[in-house]
């Protein structure tokens, strides 16, 4: 509890991070309650296409006469969910690889890290496109594809942390009393190695949202779900005549990614105060 208080004090002092947290909370609220409060089907043609914002519908209609606000509200859910789930999956896989490679070293480290580098050296977006294209584009494959291209950076970070901890005296002490390796990895080193990993995986949510938008923009997304990237993709053909149609979901992505980055930076400063100075 005390440790949490110190963390909260440090985090709150950072204004940019606090602001980011407020914006992020608002977006999360929009994703959670928006579709309930603004109950309009984002795929339903509600009116004439190309209606201006603040006319009959708050944000106008798109090329097919669908309510843009409904798309924003429903898309928030999809974008955030894919972003968070992909980051969680990537973190779990990355930490597992990194922890085992870093703790054991030697041949195991070589094998796991060469595997990681194999994924790392392929441009991540291209790999994601290929993966989604091979399988059916739906929420699950998009999430998995994003996780697959995101985990190597976590693995490398976790490996570095575990290498720096594995020869410390507290770990040697645990080995000397006969503690099994899995317990040393999970219960002894992990709590000490986690803060920088939390920071990276929170920042990864922003990258995942961007990747998802990019995939949707190219049409590689679940056809039954609206996401912000999908809306930009739909609007791109009419960018010169109706720029707001792409700008509105674009602004949402911008604000969300910015807020997550600010919060992530704030977490970094609060959890790793020594790195700052």
């Amino acid at each position: 509890m005390k440790r949490f208080h110190i963390f909260w004090f440090r985090f709150r002092r950072n204004r940019a991070a606090a602001g980011g947290a407020v914006v992020l909370a608002a977006i999360l609220a929009l994703a959670a309650f928006g579709p309930v409060l603004y109950d309009v089907d984002p795929f339903e043609m509600v009116g004439r296409p190309f209606m201006l914002p603040f006319d009959r519908y708050p944000l106008g209609t798109d090329v097919a006469g669908r309510d843009i606000l409904a798309g924003i509200v429903h898309g928030a859910r999809v974008s955030l969910m894919i972003g968070v789930l992909a980051s969680v999956a990537a973190t779990i896989v990355g930490v597992t690889f990194g922890a085992v490679a870093g703790y054991y070293g030697g041949k195991i480290d070589d094998i796991l890290m060469r595997t990681t580098e194999f994924f790392l050296c392929i441009p991540s977006f291209v790999l994601a496109v290929v993966l989604v294209a091979i399988f059916q584009p739906d929420v699950v494959t998009v999430t998995i594809a994003i996780a697959v291209v995101s985990w190597p950076s976590v693995a490398r970070l976790a490996r570095g942390e575990f290498i720096s901890h594995r020869d410390r005296e507290y770990v040697l002490g645990c080995r000397a009393i006969g503690m099994p390796d899995w317990e040393i990895i999970l219960l002894q080193i992990m709590p000490n190695a986690l803060p920088p990993i939390i920071v990276v995986s929170s920042l990864m949510v922003a990258t995942a949202i961007l990747t998802e938008s990019g995939l949707s923009f190219l049409g590689l997304s679940d056809p039954n779900l609206v996401s912000w990237g999908y809306m930009i993709g739909v609007a791109r053909t009419v960018l010169r005549s109706a720029w707001w149609m792409a700008a509105i979901p674009g602004a949402m992505i911008l604000i969300t990614v910015l807020a997550i980055n600010l919060v992530g930076e704030g977490l970094n400063d609060a959890l790793n105060p020594k790195l700052r100075k």
Binding site: E169, L172, G173, A176, I177, G178, Q188, N192
Partner: protein
Amino acid sequence: MIAPPTASNVKEPPVLEVLDLVKHYPIKDGLFAPDRVVHALDGVTLTVGRGETLAVVGESGCGKSTLARCIMRLEILTSGTLLLHGKDISHVGGRDLRAMRRRLQIIFQNPYASLNPRWSIGSLVMDPMRLHKIGDAAGRRARAVELLQTVGLGAEFMSRYPHELSGGQRQRVAIARALAMQPDVIICDEPVSALDVSIQAQVINLLKKLQKSLGIAYVFISHDLSLVKHISDRVAVMYLGQIVELADTSAVRQRVMHPYSQALFSAAPVADPRAAASKRRIILSGDVPSPVDPPAGCRFHTRCPYAKDICASEAPQLRAVEDRFVRCHFAGEPGFPPPAPLSEGKYT
């Protein structure tokens, strides 16, 4: 190889025997660079009797801590044998390794690094008993309280965390943790050098008291020579991964036979300024040679004030000379090593 040296006052078989222990660390300079190794330990042989304190002294980088880690099986031995109660433990794994860990424990130098900050003192002390399935949860808790009281801490420490404790208190927790499995031997890797001088005496006295009541043997690694003379039964002097002199502490108090021991002990500070003024002192020139390419012949010949031709060509063996074991060609010759020159009255 010579027979393992034993202390003259120890009759029963030794608890721990280290035979010709070698530890080399390979260095990777690159794919095409020639293979090179750090000679951390080269043929260390020693024994520890029941309830005995064997001190291992030497300057930084001579392999003292590597020796501690090798004995604890925290490093993979390059070669050599470890015997615990006469049983070979140098390559055992699984169940046998766990059984060995109950008999052999270690206390580290830095109590700020050796206790995981995320766990309470209670769980740190109970961990060894939990892992070796000693007693039930309530029994382990009671035993942990008892152990904390043994090392001079109260039951109220059970729920505290390492960061709430002072250095001396943390080292007491480390001792309690080592005691939890009732070991026969505890390796003390510079257990007090990270503590304040006032606290050092308390921890040393605690270790001595525990030795007397529980009959534990210590391998006491240190660079504090006055402390070593005070607490140990025997002393092993190490230089560049080898033991150069091994003798009873009482014999070492009288005189030393290896030129390196002579230089090392002449460097120990003396509290009385008048005694310090008349102290004979040897200042060695140069640094310790790199353990990557240890000198041929006697490893000490590059810095030895009495080195002759044979020292550079032929490596001396550790051999019995009078009441001790010395690794020097000239040990035992009358008048060797010659007395050190008087220091020039500096109160340093």
